[in-house]
């Protein structure tokens, strides 16, 4: 954090206004009541308060290194008491020396000696005042940063979720499916009927689930099942799939639609790129404190992907990191003919709002 006084010209001007004003007021008071001659009164007032202003700038560092969020209260208190003693003695001694150099007057020596107690008390009060102003500033800065971070965080979560959902209802999938339905209405109306219903359920889930963050694996897999059912009508026996889920995993919560891109990838790089049958397998195992999900698909080793893969996977990684606070929950292994994605879903999400 930057020094609030030296950060910009305006804050510097405002800061210096106070010691100058205080110095002038004291000088006018001392002259008016004829406690000191006018020149001496002004030299005294301005010297003391300008030195106070200088020392006040240094107090900032005591405040900075005694952050109540990081240090113990006792430690802070002790350092401030020590700092107040140093501050007050430095203030009176150095100001006194300066004035004495400027005007060597026994009358002034007497004046300073008579009022020494008041000045010591004044020094401690000023120290406390300066410290409390600085702490107010630090606190408000902290708050602002916190708010900024929080809104940034929220934004990021929202963005990741949004893009996850965008990839969700893939327009090519939708239009190819509608084309298949158009075809089936002529050749096999009953199948067309089934496909319209599967597509409707699938879309309803995708649209409605924008609101909830977490769903059970069972519910998510039911939706994946709809998706696969639709793709299976399009690709026939070229698409085989199997879910192998431990009983304990069914009610485990997972971020909604997080598996969808994995199946889309499996189909895009597996089924779309080959004319041979491709199998997609999902395995879910329960471990203490987490669930492990594996999605495995074969692909044709001879096919060369048209464009690099990974956007969907990066997306999932981002979402898991935001929700669980770890970037190691998704691992990808690409073998010669098999692609394996392993996802760890911890039992408790860190940032579920």
């Amino acid at each position: 954090m930057e020094h609030p006084v030296t950060a910009n010209k305006i804050s510097g001007l405002i800061y210096w206004f106070f010691p100058v004003a205080a110095g002038v007021i004291q000088a006018v008071f001392n002259s008016y009541y004829q406690i000191l001659p006018v020149t001496i009164a002004f030299i005294d007032g301005l010297t003391f308060y300008l030195v106070l202003g200088l020392l006040g700038i240094a107090v900032w560092y005591v405040v900075r290194y005694n952050d109540p969020e990081k240090s113990a209260v006792m430690q802070i208190l002790v350092s401030h008491i020590a700092a107040a003693v140093v501050f007050t003695s430095l203030w009176i001694v150095s100001s006194g020396i300066i004035v004495k150099i400027l005007i060597n007057n026994p009358l002034y020596d007497q004046y300073l000696y008579d009022l020494i107690t008041e000045r010591i008390i004044g020094g401690i009060v000023f120290y406390a005042l300066i410290v409390s102003i600085y702490y107010t500033y630090v606190y408000s800065q902290h708050n602002r940063e916190k708010q900024l971070r929080e809104s940034e965080w929220q934004n990021q979560i929202r963005k990741t979720q949004l893009s996850a959902l965008k990839s969700q209802i893939n327009p090519h999938f939708l239009f190819n499916t509608l084309n298949s339905i158009a075809s089936l209405t002529l050749t096999n109306p009953e199948k067309a009927h089934g496909m319209v219903i599967a597509l409707s359920d699938f879309m309803r889930y995708s649209l409605r689930k924008q609101q909830d963050d977490m769903v059970t694996l069972e519910v998510e897999l039911r939706n994946i099942g709809l998706y696969l059912q639709i793709e299976k009508i399009r690709f026939g026996n070229n698409l085989l799939y199997r879910f192998d889920v431990e009983e304990a995993c069914n009610h485990h919560l997972i971020p909604n639609l997080i598996l969808q891109p994995l199946f889309e990838n499996a189909i895009k790089y597996g089924v779309y790129e080959t004319s041979k049958p491709v199998e997609v397998i999902l395995e879910a195992r329960k471990f203490p404190e987490a669930m492990e999900i594996k999605v495995i698909n074969d692909f044709d080793p001879e096919s060369v992907p048209l464009k690099g893969e990974g956007v969907g996977l990066a997306n999932i990684k981002d979402r898991l990191r935001l929700l669980y606070g770890s970037s190691r929950l998704l691992t990808i292994e690409s073998g010669e003919t098999r692609f394996l994605v392993t996802m760890i879903i911890p039992d408790i999400a860190e940032n579920i709002h």
Partner: protein
């Protein structure tokens, strides 16, 4: 008038069913075959020489566009796809129409009308070939190149290309899989291969940096690159400067 001898190339059987149904309702059309991927498509076009092809874009192994690159004198093309972002590219690939799935019968009739007009004056003008070439410039970096030798079609990942040699109006691609001719210019490959990986070392050569084994100077201002596979390629002065820049 003779019937329009038509071929369907689409990987989805339901999509072929629908199109077949539509075409059966138009008397101008004679359906001569159906293919479920680009490999079959190339062979079918060469062997059966159709007048018109209904072509899908996204298919296993090679896309509809890549397939067209392998056909020297392509017939009239109507694209039939769910992808709307390729429309401009499709027209520049000499397509006469672009049908977005799902489309109604009327849309097919309109496309067939255009095909009839086109077939009356059918010759591929060199200007259009040019257009394909120039358009290619903004279609991004290549990840793979599709080539054909005899009846065999190869999909080559760009990493496995050693170097490309320019010949008159085509190039020869030397790669792990062998060497293949391709009807494209050197300029095209220079623009569409990652410049961090491929360097023009000579008027005639575009070299994959990962396959360099040695650079030798054999005369003043003239060098030779040895590739790991043992090929020796001349390097020009400008080419040497390029090479030095990239190897820094």
């Amino acid at each position: 008038m003779n019937k329009i001898r038509t071929l369907i190339i689409d990987d989805e059987s339901l999509a072929r069913d629908l199109l077949r149904h539509y075409l059966s309702k138009d008397e101008r059309v004679e359906l001569i075959g159906e293919c479920s991927n680009g490999f079959e498509g190339v062979l079918a076009i060469q062997e059966q020489n159709p007048d018109l092809v209904f072509l899908d874009i996204q298919m296993p192994k090679i896309t509809g566009f890549e397939m067209l690159e392998l056909v020297p004198n392509p017939p009239v093309i109507i694209f039939s796809t769910a992808y709307d972002q390729y429309a401009i590219r499709a027209f520049e690939a000499n397509a006469i129409d672009y049908l977005l799935k799902p489309y109604p019968f009327e849309r097919v009739v309109a496309a067939l009308n255009k095909a009839v007009e086109k077939l009356k004056i059918k010759t591929t003008s060199p200007e259009i070939e040019k257009l394909i070439e120039t358009h290619d410039e903004d279609s991004g970096l290549l990840n793979r190149v599709v080539v054909k030798s005899g009846r065999k079609i190869q999909v080559i990942p760009v990493e496995s290309i050693y170097y490309i040699e320019s010949q008159d109006d085509f190039v020869m691609i030397y790669c792990v899989e062998g060497h293949f001719m391709k009807q494209k210019t050197m300029k095209f490959f220079e623009q569409h291969l990652d410049e961090k990986q491929f360097v023009r070392i000579h008027r005639s050569y575009l070299l994959n940096l990962t396959h360099i084994s040695e650079i030798q100077q054999y005369e003043k201002e003239s060098w030779i690159v040895l590739t790991k596979q043992g090929a020796k390629l001349k390097v020009s002065k400008a080419g040497y400067a390029n090479l030095k820049e990239k190897l820094k």
